[in-house]
């Protein structure tokens, strides 16, 4: 195995993944993608992709749908925004404090939902999100509520390209962190408590410990993304914490394939671009894109709960051709 393959293995990437990232990296210079509005769409897609990875880290492994995901993401954004507006802290530090705040809340949510299982925990996380959104709306002296908090932007430029590379990097970092954790022993514990709580407990796994780790990490990453959101759009309203935003990420993560991490990220780009096209192309039919969203989610849940990732694993992943196989899977090492 050469150095390149070793590096890929370290990063849990495949040659196909690297190619995909490379394409995304040069995309802003290839027509028609060199237009700012398409780069905005790409940024939106990358944000959802990164969100889907962090979301799947919880939903796909410990089997708890964090329905308050965007509320916690919003908390990260608000923390960073408030620090930069009121204290004058640079957003470059603020986003990390925001991520830490989100992580702390993730920790607490994890604690709160500990004794609850599955759907109960999801609903509890949802309530935490709703309460958080309510607070963001009502604590006007701090958040300006629905008036919207104007936030300083990260880069002093009108161009979207620096933001695009930043969010791409964030997406990659999110993926690498999540996939490395999942591939470690901790990941085995996640899967075990997600698939069978009793068997996991009697195998010596402390579910409390691992669930909290999972929630804390996932929420920290969400908070980081929230910081990006706050300092990219330049305005923050409590709407960012709305359940419908979580549903958006949820749909992408599940259509992409739960428990795969990469599935949601891979599907996010074509999916979001297609949805934006439908929306802007058929603007006389409002809501059509979201109808497609809902329909797709329903069809996937009924007929293919594994999503795109499972389809890929079943039909595309293992081609006969060796070069192609290497391309899709990287240098394989069977133990």
């Amino acid at each position: 195995m050469n150095a390149f393959d070793k590096l890929l293995r370290q990063l849990n990437l495949t040659p196909a993944g690297v190619l995909g990232l490379a394409v995304l990296a040069v995309l802003p210079f290839i027509p028609p993608f060199n237009q700012e509005y398409l780069i905005r769409w790409l940024i939106a897609a990358a944000l959802i992709a990164a969100g889907a990875i962090a979301f799947d880290f919880t939903a796909g492994f410990i089997n708890i749908v964090n329905f308050g995901f965007y509320a916690i993401l919003g908390l990260g954004g608000y923390t960073s925004a408030i620090l930069s507006v009121n204290v004058g802290l640079t957003p470059w530090i603020g986003v990390f404090i925001g991520a830490a705040a989100a992580g702390v809340l993730g920790f607490l949510t994890g604690l709160l939902t500990l004794r609850l299982r599955g759907i109960f925990a999801a609903v509890m996380a949802w309530f935490v999100g709703l309460a958080l959104m309510g607070l963001a709306t009502k604590m006007v002296w701090l958040t300006r509520g629905p008036l919207g908090l104007r936030t300083p932007r990260l880069f002093d430029t009108a161009s979207n390209i620096p933001y695009y590379y930043l969010i791409l990097l964030l997406m990659l970092v999110t993926y690498i962190i999540c996939s490395r954790v999942v591939a470690s022993k901790v990941g085995i514990a996640f899967k075990a408590i997600g698939q069978n709580m009793d068997a996991a407990k009697t195998s010596g796994i402390n579910p409390t410990y691992y669930r909290i780790i999972n929630f804390t990490l996932s929420c920290t990453l969400a908070g980081l993304l929230g910081g990006f959101y706050a300092h990219y759009y330049g305005i923050l309203t409590p709407d960012i914490m709305h359940t419908s935003k979580t549903v958006e990420v949820l749909a992408v993560a599940y259509i992409g394939g739960r428990g795969s991490l990469w599935g949601g990220a891979a599907i996010a780009f074509p999916f979001i671009l297609a949805m934006e096209l439908v929306r802007s192309g058929l603007s006389n039919l409002p809501g059509l894109n979201l109808i497609l969203y809902g329909l797709l989610l329903i069809l996937v849940m009924i007929y293919y709960p594994g999503g795109f990732a499972k389809f890929f694993d079943a039909y595309i992943r293992h081609p006969k051709n060796r070069a192609l196989n290497y391309f899709l899977n990287g240098a394989s090492v069977r133990t």
């Binding site: 899967k191 009697t202 010596g204």
Partner: protein, 246 residues
């Protein structure tokens, strides 16, 4: 030496008393059978001891140390493993990963140097018939029971609970599983088994504990308990009901 001892162990669910002041013990090296008609509270008793459903009152001692109410993962690391009546390991994991779970988390850190090797050894020990990379949702019940057994053994228990490990097996499979259970005992593991199949009980168990309606009605050497009129009555009464239900 008593590897397990319970004192007045009681478990209530609301108004229902599922286990009522059961005091019993298991000596090191024994195979003890826990018997009783359906719904007598056998599995509840196991859960109360193992920490899955902590007891309402009473005390539990594992190898002389009190462990009442400890969570199951602690119990596992203290040397108590169990299998499940309806074996349900991790459906999306492969056989090897399933056993790895218990190998990694059921043993003290560094106690097993080569995780995969240990897990494979356990699979071989229970004579697991399928390749180790089979996803466990593809296994049948018999194979799942073996897998669950391998998983339970992977944490190197001193005491093993077997919850109806033989139910639904054919005659030939029964002989096989008996051989495996004997092998487990020979490797130094004490066994407490909940069982219905008389053939297995009479052949394997050194002693029996019989409970009915959550209360212990008999405890002693296998032959003695089997002849106990209270036990016969409990079974006959219950069996009559069972026949009509099935």
């Amino acid at each position: 030496m008593n590897i397990l001892e319970t004192k007045q162990l009681t478990k209530r669910f609301g108004g229902l008393v599922a286990v009522n002041e059961v005091s019993m013990h298991v000596e090191e090296g024994e195979i003890v059978g826990l018997i009783g008609p359906n719904g007598a509270g056998k599995t509840t008793l196991l859960n109360a001891i193992a920490g899955l459903n902590p007891p309402t009152s009473g005390r539990v001692f594992l190898a002389g140390k009190e462990t009442t109410g400890l969570p199951p993962d602690r119990m596992c690391r203290l040397g108590l493993s169990r299998t499940f009546q309806i074996p349900n390991p991790f459906p999306k994991m492969t056989v090897l990963e399933t056993v790895n779970c218990a190998t990694i988390f059921g043993n003290r850190k560094g106690a097993v140097s080569d995780v995969a090797a240990h897990s494979r050894k356990m699979l071989a020990f229970v004579e697991f018939p399928m390749p180790a990379d089979t996803v466990s949702e593809q296994l049948n019940t018999v194979q799942l029971k073996r897998l669950d057994l391998a998983r339970a053994l992977a944490s190197k228990p001193r005491l093993l609970f077997l919850d109806e490990v033989a139910s639904g097996l054919s005659e030939g499979e029964l002989t096989d599983i008996m051989a495996v259970i004997r092998k487990i005992r020979e490797s130094g593991v004490t066994i407490l088994m909940v069982e219905h199949i008389m053939q297995l009980i009479m052949n394997l168990c050194d002693r029996l504990v019989c409970i009915q309606f959550g209360t212990k009605i008999a405890e002693g050497p296998t032959q003695e308990v089997a002849r106990d009129p209270k036990v016969t009555e409990a079974y006959l009464g219950a069996e009559a009901d069972q026949c009509t239900a099935e």
